[in-house]
Amino acid sequence: MMDTTTNQSAGLSSVPLGKALVIGLGGCGIRILDLLRANPRAGWLVTLAVDTDGDVLAKTRADAVINASADWSPRSNAGCGGDVIRGERAISHERANLTAHIKDFSLVIVTGGLGGGTATGGVRTIASVARAEGVPAIFLLTTPFSFEAHSRRKNADDCLQEIVPVADVVLTMPNDLLFSTLPPDTPAEHAFAMAAKEMAGTVAGIAAILRCRDLVGTDFATFMRALNKRRAACGVGVGFAENSDGLDRCALALSRMLDSPFLGGKEALKRADAAIVTLTGGPDLELGEMKRSLELAADVLPSGIELISGANVCDEAAGSVQMTAVIFQYAPDSKPEPAPLRPGRKTVKPVVPPVEDALPFVSDTRDVVEVELGLPTYDRGIFEKQPSVRFHDVDLDIPTYQRHGSSIDKGN
């Protein structure tokens, strides 16, 4: 399951046909973008590739490209080498360019892989531009594998902590989940290709959900209402079937949707609190077909949940149907997690002695010990010599970014 968070933003509305922009940020984002470009059902989406690596951009099939070249920052046109600050600096330098691309769209979907430099550093700038232009933005971001370096996972976690308050919707997809449905003997190259394809399908599916108010409408406002400004675990499933696949193409699309790895399996469906299900078909979509497939979808979901159904028709989907579902399981406490007030204080697992060395009949009930790693150093600036005025035991004169542990690019 993915984590989702929403913020309410005034003026969010449904997305008119053909006015959605998908931004692929960084190498991973551009890979997804290229697969999306190859998907005929996503032909209505406009794509924009943004990267610091000129070689990657040279090969992309995206409609537009922004080569994040910062003449005032050290740059070799070969990426930012996983350096978040350099990525942030390079993307922020392209702010005017991003604004020019984003401002005419009614929805922006940003996709990329967190943990590296460009996407991790750049998402905040894109969120800021989208907010400034009043364009609703959805972030579909992958998080690193559990076996990847700690620094990459920390980069991703830090980025999420910063992006969640400023973005409209953030959907994070753990890379580990992508491979959970594949057998271990799957060739690695094939597995990664599958993962990118699945991600591209998810982007197309999310875009389809928000696409238009055609037959039975679902739009961005519906999406926001379903999330109800709460933090939720989220699953996305996309199923596609063509006329040539069999007689009951809608049932087939539903079955494929339920098998989507990002949906999290049937157990996740049982725990859902809310769901958005949409059917996208071509002009040949029949009323009975639409009714039956949405009813079938409703049957697999637990009764009593908030279910929002929608149906769209578009020419590109002629001869096929696509069923997309987003399910939400609200977190019991859906408030944003409080920032660590004392980042220097860590909790670590104790070193457990071998069983033969342990004293018999003596049980130590402690399962964790707290180790003081020294007082964190804060700079109170002009308030240094003034007595601390605490609010709920927090010294608000300490800069917020220090208490939150955010990294700030001081320039060069």
Binding site: R95, A96, R124, R131, G381, F391, D397, T400, I408, G411
Partner: protein, 425 residues
């Protein structure tokens, strides 16, 4: 008294950024005519709304007062003047008081006298002797302990319970101000909590009745009040203001505090963005040579965003804890911090409600003496309106008001019965 028979009101603000004096009076339409205004930088004599250097504050106020009085064009005997001053800072707190009266009259009708008695009982809270009750506002009334109403007069009940919002301030802080005022020749001064003064100047009648959160985002502190059905539901102060935003920038980006303060005050972020720039160039001298530092504008935005978002989230959390969030229909942001262009957008994002920047309405006269944008002066202008509203209700002008103020019960009654009327000005 002026020649026209209207009383000239003197208002004083000891702000973290500025100490200012205003002379004004109400006109026939209830608007405020500013007769003179003077402002001086506080020069660190006031920190987070509290005077920390009495002598410096006295000297600055004396200068401002003399300039303002000069602007009036005539001499006054200060000891005969009504003077109001704004109170702000973490020493200001509020409590809810609850007072009950039983109705023995055969018709069981709630009368004004019974309301006054219930309020009188409600204000008798056992609080520390260090605290002074500076203002009392009605919040709501309960009939027979069940039915909530905001105007109980004329309704039938066996029992009437008044719930009042009482604002307290530390006696020593108030006494510091009063000592300064006496030093300057005033007999006494009357304190008004900043957001209540703001409410008189920036809120429309609809906003007062429909549930409005009013936030005064000042230089040192952020004070707020929630008005609902012309009563006060909640108020509070956060020890963080625009100076914290500037300080955060200064620490985060290794820049001088004054530069950061100016950067915020002059909305440089938005100006540079409009010019298509992505970084700011800052000259540093090191080892005899000058070097240009290029600092991304996104870094400024990130630091400012984090601080403002935290400030507004803390207010939201306080209101959520008090279960007051459902009563809010809109938010009005005023004070110097309202001039930060991103502030209202962040506030809208945090609260999920419409937000507008509030500035004083229905004010005429010597407005050219206000050198900063008008939201910076919402409180001092509201202070004059607040005083004028009380004055208008007083049967014998200033002296009557003073008598009323001296009599705690009368003052309370005047506040309570006239708040709604006054807020509609």
């Amino acid at each position: 008294m002026s020649s026209s028979g209207r009383t000239i009101i003197t208002g004083i603000e000891f702000g973290t950024d500025k100490i200012c004096v205003i002379h004004g009076m109400p006109d026939q339409n209830g608007n405020i005519e500013v007769l003179s205004f003077a402002s001086r930088p506080s020069k660190n004599s006031v920190v987070k709304g509290v005077i920390v250097d009495q002598n410096a504050a006295l000297a600055i106020l004396r200068e401002a007062l003399e300039e303002s009085e000069k602007g009036l064009g005539r001499a006054f005997n200060r000891s005969e003047r009504l003077v109001y001053f704004l109170v702000n800072g973490m020493h200001v707190s509020f409590r809810f008081g609850e007072g009950t009266v039983l109705i023995y009259a055969p018709d069981k009708k709630v009368t004004r006298e019974l309301v006054a008695q219930a309020i009188d009982n409600a204000k008798n809270l056992a609080v520390s002797t260090d605290l002074d009750n500076i203002q009392v506002y009605d919040s709501s009334f309960l009939l027979d302990g069940r039915k909530r109403t905001f105007n109980p007069v004329g309704q039938l009940a066996e029992k009437l319970t008044a719930i009042v919002h009482i604002v307290f301030a530390e006696k020593k802080r108030l006494e510091t101000v009063k000592v300064i005022l006496r030093e300057l020749g005033f007999e006494d001064g009357y304190p008004v909590f900043v957001p209540f003064a703001d409410a008189y100047s920036v809120l429309t009648a609809d906003e007062q009745s429909q549930g409005t959160l009013l936030i005064d985002y000042g230089a040192g502190v952020c004070a707020y009040v929630l008005l609902y059905q012309e009563g006060v539901l909640f108020s509070g102060v956060l020890p963080t203001g625009v100076n914290n935003v500037a300080n955060d920038l200064s620490v985060a980006l290794d820049l001088p505090y004054d530069f950061c303060h100016k950067f915020i005050r002059e909305s440089k972020l938005e100006t540079l963005r409009a010019e298509g720039k992505s970084c700011i160039e800052y000259m540093v001298s090191s080892g005899g040579s000058d070097k240009i530092r290029r600092i991304p504008l996104d870094s400024f935005e990130k630091v400012m965003d984090l601080r403002q978002r935290e400030t507004f989230s803390l207010i939201k959390n306080e209101l959520e804890r008090a279960k007051a969030l459902p009563c809010i229909n809109s938010v009005v942001l005023t004070g110097g911090g309202a001039m930060i262009e991103s502030a209202s957008d962040i506030l809208k994002n945090v609260m999920g409600l419409p937000v507008r920047v509030g500035e004083a309405m229905n004010v005429t006269g010597a407005l050219s003496s206000f050198r900063s944008p008008m939201p910076c002066y919402s409180a001092i202008l509201g202070l004059v309106k607040h005083a004028a509203a009380l004055e208008a209700d007083s049967p014998s002008g200033g002296n009557g008001l003073r008598r009323a103020m001296e009599n705690a019960g009368d003052h309370l009654m005047k506040s309570l019965f006239n708040l709604g009327k006054a807020l509609k000005v």
